[in-house]
């Protein structure tokens, strides 16, 4: 090895070190962790958050405003038009949101990543075909189709999960493919092939670990879209069927009473926004830490 290349490698190593230190200097998104943690805790311990039933209300306690706006400490966030405690419904609604986000990201993310890995590794016409499918997926008016399906088949939780998983697999496929194509050309992968490793082994043992970071970042960034899509569908009446509390349908229920009881819509919407903002910030931070290359790519695939 000549001296010049060694110097170049050293220089690069120093530069990388500085970059890494700069990135780690970005503060930890503590507020994101707090919000997300609080919501997950509320979901898990929903029955202990308040003693009120989230579904059966007391009609005598209709439309009580939140504590700071003339309400009582019995209902800190007020009650809705059926006298149901909003705090309690928010906590139980968190269960739906957390459940929906976990399952859709698990299923959609795993399938999408697998497709991306295959596409990137196989190349050729397989790649061409798969990427064309992804393009088509991105140009379908999915919310409309989802709405139609939900109304035709009747809204249900499994249908909602399937639709949302379908909504997000494309982003995973695109990013996993791009990363796979980069790694495929690496020497260690080529060596593994020469050593006689089967394609499954090469992808599973040598490429997948390198793609995991990308998948994790995409997953974090997609939480927001999943939550928002679930809320939109629930708002339009195509999400989780009532009376199960879901944040989106809570906003929808408050719509009719916006003149007299604004808090019924305000509170669940704020919670949705807080959760989405927190996961987005967390995603930005993770991306800068794990995979800065995604900066442009994710912006492209979002709409």
């Amino acid at each position: 090895m000549s001296i010049t290349t060694q110097a170049a490698i050293d220089a690069r190593r120093v530069r990388r070190g500085i970059q890494r230190r700069l990135i780690s200097m970005r503060r930890w998104p503590i507020s994101s962790f707090v919000v997300i943690g609080a919501i997950i805790l509320a979901a898990v311990f929903a029955p202990w958050v308040t003693s009120h039933d989230p579904i059966a209300g007391n009609l005598a306690d209709r439309q009580i405003p939140p504590l700071l706006f003339g309400g009582s400490s019995a209902h800190v966030l007020g009650t809705d038009n059926l006298g149901r405690d909003i705090l309690s419904r928010i906590a139980y609604g968190a269960r739906i949101s957390v459940l929906v986000a976990t399952i859709t990201l698990g299923v959609g993310g795993a399938l999408g990543s697998l497709i991306g890995l295959i596409s990137g590794y196989a190349g050729g016409w397989v790649d061409e075909l798969i990427m064309r499918m992804v393009d088509i997926k991105f140009s379908l008016p999915l919310i409309l189709i989802a709405l139609a399906l939900a109304v035709i088949l009747g809204p249900s939780l499994p249908l909602l999960l399937g639709l949302l998983a379908f909504l997000i697999w494309g982003s995973f496929a695109r990013q996993a493919r791009a990363q796979t194509m980069l790694l495929k050309e690496m020497d260690y992968v080529k060596l593994a092939k020469v050593a006689g490793a089967s394609p499954v082994r090469v992808v599973g043992r040598h490429i997948l670990p390198g793609v995991m970071n990308t998948i994790l970042v995409v997953a974090t960034m997609q939480v927001g879209s999943v939550i928002l899509a679930e809320a939109s569908l629930s708002f339009l009446g195509a999400g989780v069927p009532p009376p199960t509390p879901s944040w989106g349908s809570m906003v929808a229920e408050g719509r009719l009473y916006i003149n007299t009881a604004w808090w019924v819509s305000l509170v669940p919407g704020l919670v949705i926004g807080l959760l989405v903002a927190s996961t987005t910030l967390l995603g930005d931070w993770l991306r800068d830490r794990l995979d800065p290359r995604l900066r442009q790519a994710v912006a492209d695939s979002q709409r």
Binding site: I136, P141, L149, I152, L153, V251, N259, G273, V276, D300
Partner: protein, 292 residues
């Protein structure tokens, strides 16, 4: 082209899993004869594949079928709704550019200051808050509490304000973030630093050297938002009772009027494909390095 074909299949399949529309439309005491005649009128007596081929060949001639409920041609119903949706989408699009670009440029130039944080907060709210929630809160504050603007239906020009802001905010937020980050990047580039070193004035550097190159990424985004605005309008139009395609689709879904729903989905996808094509063409003008 392929996209449109796939969409026709999806749309067609959707209409078929819905089941027999005759059950909904005919009175309960309809005779078997009426039942069959009506089926023939709708083309339900032939195999599914044949129905699809007929559907496609009609589509090629611009025939979208007839609305089941209104007994009018879908094309005609759509034609009445398109201007309303287009106006709303256009005004929201203009709003997103007028708000997103200046704020994004300002945030980049005043990087790290209060202005920057303010702009980013605006963007964060636009992207994290559900559209329908923003709509309701705007209705409550400006329509109900302050009583400044009408809150539903299309009456005069003031009816445009709330739906436009609601629909445009999300797009403006994305635009702002993209402009900000790409301008920050471009401002670090050597040719911009050179221009500054040569003594070109600050405003000129930004407008002539930096912004032009920083606009490429947001341009793609603009194309996507334009299409996204059309489909995003479903919620907004429903909340504001706006007589456009989105609320039409919502009504069609609740009335199981599938020819109309088919028409709307096809039309929206068509706009989407068209918008992407336009962006690709615009790209060529802005960045001569890209070759077809």
């Amino acid at each position: 082209m392929v996209t449109m074909l796939v969409v026709t299949m999806v749309v067609f399949a959707l209409s078929r899993i819905q089941g027999d529309p005759r059950g909904v439309l005919l009175p309960e005491d309809a005779t078997l004869k009426q039942y069959e005649d009506f089926g023939k009128e709708l083309g339900l007596d032939r195999p599914v594949f044949v129905q699809y081929v007929i559907y496609i060949s009609r589509l090629a001639k611009g025939d979208l079928g007839k609305s089941i409920l209104q007994r009018k041609s879908v094309a005609e119903i759509l034609r009445l709704r398109i201007p309303n949706s287009a106006q709303l989408a256009a005004s929201a699009f203009i709003f997103s550019l007028l708000v997103g670009i200046p704020l994004g440029v300002m945030a980049a130039l005043k990087h790290g200051t209060g202005w920057d944080y303010g702009a980013r907060l605006f963007a964060m709210v636009g992207q994290a808050m559900p559209v329908f929630w923003i709509a309701l809160m705007l209705i409550f504050v400006f329509g109900v509490a302050l009583g400044w603007v009408p809150t539903s239906r299309k009456v005069d020009w003031t009816s445009y304000i709330l739906p436009t802001v609601t629909l445009g905010w999300f797009a403006a937020a994305g635009q702002l973030r993209l402009i900000r980050s790409s301008l920050l990047e471009v401002l670090q580039a050597e040719y911009v630093r050179l221009a500054r070193a040569k003594g070109v004035s600050g405003v000129l550097v930004v407008w002539k050297h930096a912004l032009r190159n920083a606009l490429i990424a947001p341009l793609t985004f603009a194309g996507l938002t334009l299409a996204g605005l059309i489909s995003g309008s479903i919620v907004v139009e429903t909340v504001f009772a706006w007589p456009g395609l989105g609320s039409l689709a919502f009504q069609a879904v609740s009335n199981s009027d599938y020819p109309i729903l088919q028409g709307v989905i096809l039309l929206i996808t068509f706009f989407y494909v068209l918008a992407n094509l336009l962006v690709d063409i615009l790209y060529l003008f802005l960045d001569p390095r890209i070759k077809v």
